[in-house]
Amino acid sequence: MSRVILTVDDSPSMRQMVSFTLRGAGYEVVQASDGVQAIEYARNNPVDLVLTDVNMPGMDGLTLVRELRGLPNCRLTPMLVLTTESSQDKRAIGKQAGATGWILKPFNPEQLLATIARVL
């Protein structure tokens, strides 16, 4: 059974790129365009990894990670945030929110796969 990756991003092209790349590598991908959708899905469905953009209107990615960590079946789910920030501060905040790690944007499909392999 393949692993399920929940990808959250308000940009359809980014979601598409991520989805295609990961499906090609054998993962199953579920797309959500915002935090609310993501939480709705994760609440009732198994998710093996969450991949979320940080910069989103409405609920930002770090808040989403924090919220997801509060869900009983996501407490220990690996979560990666996609961010353009490379400063130390943003990373610290990412850790505080409970993220497993981050991926710096822009990234190409190879980098995405390599990073996911560090977690799954």
């Binding site: 692993r3 295609f20 054998g26 199953e28 797309q31 209107p57």
Partner: protein
């Protein structure tokens, strides 16, 4: 990039679409910003720019990314309060959005970008960014001011993690260590495991760099009874026999630097390799060759290639227009079939047919509902069109030195997608005209006792199966005398013609007409009004203008809600049946020859109350044999288009019904005076009369005779 071109193309397509949407958001938000700087609005604009930049960088549109970066930086300064929102900055940003739109369009079309504009704007942006700006005063609705980003260099020490690097004691600065190794002290905090950063994986990564010796310190592991098994109580001492840069190690420990204490010490060769720290616990450190990855680690099976990424439901789907058109066509066929069936049941008088009639009535209901639903699918709110005008009015009023306030109402009014797409250009022309010729300068307005800011209103609403769009301005209105003079000068009306105000005003739609005293580059020569009307007619609609001199003008456009179906009046001329759209029919009257009079030449006029209507004999226009050539006993269908009325002489009025418009061009060829055809219940083909076209060609065929010419 490892992705097939077709998939990448598809993703690019999505990126372009979302970029255009983002640019629209930026533009409309920038226009709002002009009025009232607001933190949330700035954030919205910034996020949109940031998104576009991110996508551009990801998909290798470097020029786009670079240009957007400049915009983003400026916006970031505004967002943090570092820079005030000035109208100069807003204007520059608006221009940049235009340029960006051009760049995205170019990227989409694969054409080259206008470098001159890009360079110029880059220079302007750079200049603005480097100019000192007083920090903005507290913005409305802002909470705590944004903290200044700390200038932290990469590798700066954070309070808890200590990533200290101490060079080996005996190494001199210039020495290149030939076979150095690293001693790493890795002491995770209890929460490390919960972040799902797994030490075994980290060590496996280290092991790829060189021979690894791992010693675990189990002294911190409490008894099973008190142990929280999710906490990490283990620590490790690692020796990595590899001459790598410190940065390489930092990379591996990047994610865990906050959740563990990591000490890395580089040990350089000649005799300085220290003994491995004796581990505090008993276990012997066992040297490990780079171990095979645990078998489950990286499942690259393509087994699930067929599984599509499941989307979370957003409540809407994209459907190609082709598919929708196919549906619409099928429903049209259904309507025809249903009407054929109805005809059959009408003539039969047997008991069993009662049930058949009920069923057919039900079918008629179902068909009508289905038709309405399908038409709805193609409908979009007019806001898609109206939203363009904020920017247009903003730019034009600036350029013309006028103050204009744009009011929109009824933006939610829906209309057919194709009509929506085609009404945009005519509307733009009408708005330009209103701004250029209708609305006066602030000084002129004040002199006329009006407020200096003029109002331009765009309004839309539904009325009787049509959509009405009004363009209203409170400007100078039309000057009747000037229009009449011009019309006579151009030979558009007879010198002695008598016209009412409405007829005079609508002369501005006549071809070759212009009252602009000077040619302005803004709306061209003002001769576009006839093109506007022609375009609107082409959509099955009508346009007219009403005006009060000194107070303003209102242009009223009436458009059918759909291009596919028409409410029609069937009429008979001789053996032929024609359809006249109900919308264009004013009234129908019986002809009495005492009301008719003929003017010298060929025009016949029918006196209807206080108006003289030219009579159009359809049989003449179309060359058919009518019932009668006299007028007694005939019917006159009074139709109206473009402010002109004529009476169409027919032999008989038949039913009123909805007809499905079939294109003549697609199935035959264009015929002047006809706007298509339909198939009736009995299978006959009934041409649909193009009322405006008929009136125009009739007027042309009358030579110099014009409406309103007095009876001889």
């Amino acid at each position: 990039m490892g992705m097939p071109d077709s998939e990448m193309e598809e993703i690019h397509k999505i990126f372009f679409e979302e970029s255009f949407e983002g640019l629209d958001v930026m533009e409309s938000s920038l226009l709002l910003l002009g009025a009232q700087p607001d933190r949330e609005t700035i954030n919205t604009i910034f996020r949109a720019a940031h998104s576009i930049k991110g996508g551009a960088a990801t998909f290798d549109f470097t020029e786009l990314a670079h240009f957007t970066h400049g915009i983003e930086t400026l916006l970031d300064q505004m967002r943090t309060g570092e820079r005030t929102v000035t109208s100069e900055a807003v204007q520059l940003l608006l221009q940049s959005v235009d340029c960006l739109r051009g760049m995205v369009t170019a990227a989409q079309a694969g054409t080259a970008v206008d470098q001159v504009t890009v360079e110029a704007l880059n220079a302007d942006l750079a200049r603005m960014l480097s100019s000192a700006q007083a920090a903005a005063p507290a913005m409305q609705a802002s909470t705590a001011s944004a903290p200044a980003p700390s200038a932290s260099s990469l590798g700066a020490l954070s309070p808890s993690a200590s990533l200290s690097v101490s060079s080996a004691m005996s190494a001199s600065p210039g020495t290149q260590a030939a076979a150095a190794c690293w001693e790493i002290e890795f002491r995770p905090k209890p929460e490390l495991l919960r972040t799902r950063n797994e030490p075994a994986r980290l060590f496996a990564e280290l092991a790829r760099l060189g021979p690894l010796t791992v010693s675990a310190d189990c002294s911190g592991v409490p008894s099973l009874a008190t142990l929280d098994p999710e906490d990490c109580h283990l620590a490790w001492h690692i020796v990595l026999g590899a001459d790598v840069e410190r940065a390489r190690l930092d990379e591996i420990f990047d994610w865990v630097s906050e959740s563990a204490t990591i000490d890395c010490r580089r040990i350089d060769p000649p005799g300085t390799i220290p003994e491995a720290q004796p581990p505090i616990a008993a276990p012997i450190a066992t040297p490990i060759a780079a171990p095979a990855q645990p078998t489950e680690a990286h499942d690259l099976r393509l087994a699930d290639a067929s599984a599509s990424g499941k989307g979370v439901d957003t409540g809407s789907i994209r459907v190609s227009t082709e598919k929708v058109d196919a549906l619409v066509n099928l429903v049209g066929e259904l309507v025809i079939t249903q009407s054929i069936l109805s005809r059959f049941s009408a003539g039969v008088e047997v008991d069993q047919v009662e049930a058949l009639r009920d069923a057919l009535a039900q079918l008629a209901r179902n068909t009508r509902q289905l038709q309405e639903s399908v038409m709805q699918v193609r409908m979009l709110p007019i806001s898609f069109c109206f939203n363009r005008f904020g920017r247009l009015v903003h730019e034009l009023s600036r350029r013309l030195g006028k103050q204009v306030e744009l009011e929109l109402s009824g933006e939610g009014t829906e209309l057919d997608k194709t009509v929506l797409e085609k009404i945009g250009d005519p509307l733009v022309h009408l708005v330009r005209n209103a701004l250029d010729h209708g609305l006066e300068t602030p000084e002129a307005r004040v002199a006329a006792g009006k407020p200096p800011t003029g109002v331009l209103e765009l309004r839309a609403y539904h009325e009787g199966g049509n959509i009405i769009i009004e363009v209203r301005d409170d400007g100078a209105g039309l000057n009747r005398a000037r229009i009449l003079a011009k019309a006579r000068e151009r030979g558009l009306i007879a010198a002695d013609a008598v016209l009412n105000d409405e007829q005079v005003h609508n002369l501005i739609f006549a071809p070759g007409f212009s009252t602009a005293q000077q040619v302005s580059d803004v709306s061209g020569r003002g001769v576009g009004m006839d093109v506007v009307r022609r375009n609107i007619n082409g959509l099955g609609g009508m346009v007219n203008i009403t005006s009060t001199e000194g107070q303003g003008s209102t242009i009223r456009i009436r458009l059918p809600l759909t291009l596919a179906i028409l409410d029609g009046q069937l009429v008979r001329v001789g053996a032929e049946v024609y359809v006249i759209s109900l919308v264009s029919i004013v009234e129908t009257i019986q002809v009495k020859s005492d009301r008719l009079s003929a003017v010298a030449g060929r025009t016949e006029l029918f006196r209807l109350r206080d108006e003289f209507l030219p009579v159009v004999r359809l049989y003449e226009q179309f060359g058919i044999d009518p019932d009668r050539r006299g007028t007694d006993g005939g019917l006159l269908v009074v139709v109206e288009a473009d402010g002109t009325r004529v009476g169409v002489l027919v032999d008989d009025l038949l039913a009123q019904q909805q007809v499905v418009i079939k294109s003549l061009e697609a199935n035959f060829r264009h015929v002047a005076g006809l706007a298509g055809a339909t198939i009736l219940g009995d299978g006959t083909v009934a041409p649909i009369i193009d009322v405006p076209g008929l009136i125009r060609s009739f007027a042309a065929s009358q030579g110099a005779r014009r409406p309103g010419a007095e009876a001889a």
